[in-house]
C-alpha cells in the first residue's frame, strides 16, 4: 500500500485519493477474511474431535460402564419429537446386538431459560442416568443440578414410571419424592418434569426404539 508516510495522517493527500479509503477497507477485510478462513480450516478437525469426544463422554456418563459395545454416535434413530414437526435423535446402546438402552435429549423451561438434559433409559423403562447438558440457572442455587456440584441428579437412577407412582414424580415440596435445593424449587421441579416427560416419551415409542413388532 505504498511507502508514502504522509498518506496516513495528511487529510489533503487523502482527499486527492478518494479510492484509497474503500480500497484500504476492502484490503483489510480481505486479509481478515483470509485469516478467518485459514483459522477455521485449521481448527475444524480439532473442534469436531472435541465435540465428538464431548458427546461420547456424556453418553458414557448416563450409561453404566460396559453396557454398550456399539458406536453410539453412529447408531442413531430419528423419531418424531414431542413437539409437532420436530424430530428427536435417539442413540441406541447395544451389547452383542441386543438393545441395552436408549439415550436422548429432553428439555424443559427452568427458572431462567431452557434446561437441556441427556437421559438414558433401559428397555424396561427404568432410568439409567440423567445429566445436565446446558442450563442458565442461577449460579450457587439452581446449578446444583450439575453432577460436578451436587450428586442430586443421580437420584433419578433406577426410577421408572411405575416406581415411584406417577403422583410421586415431583419434588418433596409438591408431595413427591425428589429433594429440592434451599432457595431453588423451580429448577428441580423442571428437571423432574423433564425426566418424567422423557420416560413418557420412551413408553409411547417403546416398540420403535427397541425395534420390536407390536
Amino acid at each position: 500500500m505504498g511507502t508514502d508516510q504522509s498518506v496516513g495522517f495528511s487529510l489533503d493527500a487523502l482527499r486527492d485519493r478518494l479510492a484509497y479509503q474503500p480500497l484500504l477497507l476492502g484490503g483489510v477485510a480481505l486479509v481478515a477474511g483470509t485469516a478467518l478462513t485459514l483459522a477455521s480450516n485449521a481448527t475444524r478437525a480439532p473442534i469436531a474431535a472435541a465435540e465428538a469426544h464431548d458427546t461420547q463422554m456424556t453418553l458414557a456418563q448416563v450409561l453404566p460402564p460396559g453396557s454398550a459395545d456399539n458406536d453410539l454416535l453412529a447408531d442413531v434413530l430419528e423419531l418424531p419429537g414431542p413437539a409437532a414437526g420436530s424430530t428427536r435423535r435417539i442413540h441406541i446402546a447395544r451389547k452383542a446386538g441386543v438393545v441395552t438402552g436408549a439415550v436422548f435429549n429432553v428439555a424443559e423451561r427452568g427458572y431462567s431459560g431452557e434446561i437441556r438434559l441427556l437421559m438414558a433409559v433401559d428397555p424396561a423403562g427404568r432410568v439409567l442416568g440423567v445429566r445436565v447438558l446446558k442450563h442458565t440457572e442461577t449460579p450457587g442455587l439452581g446449578d446444583k443440578i450439575e453432577i460436578a456440584r451436587n450428586p442430586w441428579i443421580t437420584s433419578f437412577d433406577g426410577k421408572s414410571l411405575g416406581e415411584p407412582a406417577p403422583a410421586k414424580w415431583a419434588v418433596k415440596k409438591d408431595g413427591g419424592i425428589y429433594d429440592s435445593f434451599a432457595g431453588a424449587t423451580i429448577t428441580p421441579r423442571a428437571v423432574v418434569k423433564a425426566v418424567k416427560g422423557g420416560l413418557d416419551y420412551f413408553a409411547a415409542h417403546r416398540n420403535e426404539i427397541l425395534g420390536v413388532q407390536p
Binding site: 487529510l11 484500504l24 477497507l25 485469516a35 478467518l36 477455521s40 472435541a50 465435540e51
Partner: protein
C-alpha cells in the same frame, strides 16, 4: 523500548490507569464472568491475547489507516482476532470454551480493546503498543481475579472452583467448610456491583494517601502530581 518505558507501561496498566478500577471500561464482561476466579482469570487472559495482537496489528498498520475510517478498520481487526481466539479455545481448550461460552466472542464489544487501540496503538510503535496491550490486559486479569475471588468466597465459601477444567487433578479450596450456607448476593449480579464499588473505593483511598504523602514530601507548595482519578 527501554526499561524505563517498559516500567511505565506496566505501572500504567496494572495500577495507575487500571482498566477496571480507574478507566471503568469493559464492565459488562467484568461483572458477568467474575463469579469465580477461574472464570474471571480465563476470560481475562483471552482478553490479554486479543489486546496484545490487536495493538500489534494496529500499531504496525497505523501509518496506512486514514483517520476517517479508522474505527471500521480497528473493529475489523479486533473482530477477526477475537474469532480466531474463539476458534482456538473451542479446538484446544474445549472444556474452558464450554464454560466461558458467549463471553469470548463478546471480547469484540469490550471497549477496553478498542480504547487501547484508539488511544495508544494508533499513535505508538508496535513493540510498546504490544507491551501496553499486555499490561492493560494483565491489569484487567488482576482486577477480575480479585473480584472473582471475593465473590466466590462470599457466595460459595470456596476458591478456585472449576480449576479442574483447566488443570485436571487440582481441586477447589473450600475455605469455610462444606456447611457454609453461602452469602448468595456475592454470586448474583448485584454482588458484582457491590464488590467492584468496594474495590474502587479502596483503590481511591490508597491513591489519595499516596498523593498526600507525595505532596507532603515535596513541600506544601508543590502541586499534587498524581491525583486519584475520579470515577466519572
Amino acid at each position: 523500548m527501554n526499561l524505563q518505558s517498559f516500567r511505565e507501561a506496566a505501572w500504567n496498566g496494572l495500577w495507575r490507569q487500571n482498566t477496571g478500577l480507574v478507566q471503568l471500561l469493559g464492565l459488562c464482561p467484568i461483572l458477568a464472568v467474575s463469579t469465580s476466579i477461574v472464570n474471571a482469570a480465563s476470560l481475562g487472559l483471552a482478553t490479554v491475547m486479543v489486546m496484545a495482537v490487536s495493538n500489534l496489528a494496529v500499531a504496525s498498520l497505523r501509518n496506512f489507516i486514514p483517520y476517517e475510517i479508522r474505527i471500521p478498520v480497528f473493529i475489523l481487526i479486533i473482530a477477526a482476532l477475537t474469532t480466531v481466539v474463539d476458534l482456538a479455545f473451542n479446538a484446544y481448550f474445549h472444556d474452558l470454551y464450554l464454560v466461558l461460552g458467549i463471553f469470548i466472542p463478546l471480547i469484540v464489544t469490550n471497549c477496553i480493546v478498542l480504547a487501547r487501540v484508539e488511544a495508544y496503538a494508533a499513535k505508538n510503535d508496535p513493540v510498546s503498543s504490544t507491551v501496553d496491550g499486555i499490561m492493560m490486559g494483565l491489569g484487567l486479569v488482576c482486577l477480575l481475579s480479585v473480584l472473582g475471588g471475593l465473590r466466590e468466597l462470599a457466595g460459595n465459601g470456596t476458591l478456585f472452583s472449576g480449576i479442574e477444567m483447566l488443570f485436571p487433578g487440582l481441586s477447589p479450596i473450600s475455605v469455610f467448610g462444606p456447611d457454609y450456607p453461602g452469602f448468595l448476593i456475592g454470586i448474583l449480579p448485584p454482588g458484582a456491583f457491590f464488590t467492584l464499588a468496594c474495590l474502587i473505593a479502596l483503590s481511591n483511598v490508597i491513591r489519595t494517601r499516596a498523593a498526600k504523602r507525595k505532596s507532603a514530601a515535596q513541600g506544601p507548595m508543590a502541586p499534587a502530581a498524581d491525583q486519584p482519578a475520579s470515577a466519572a
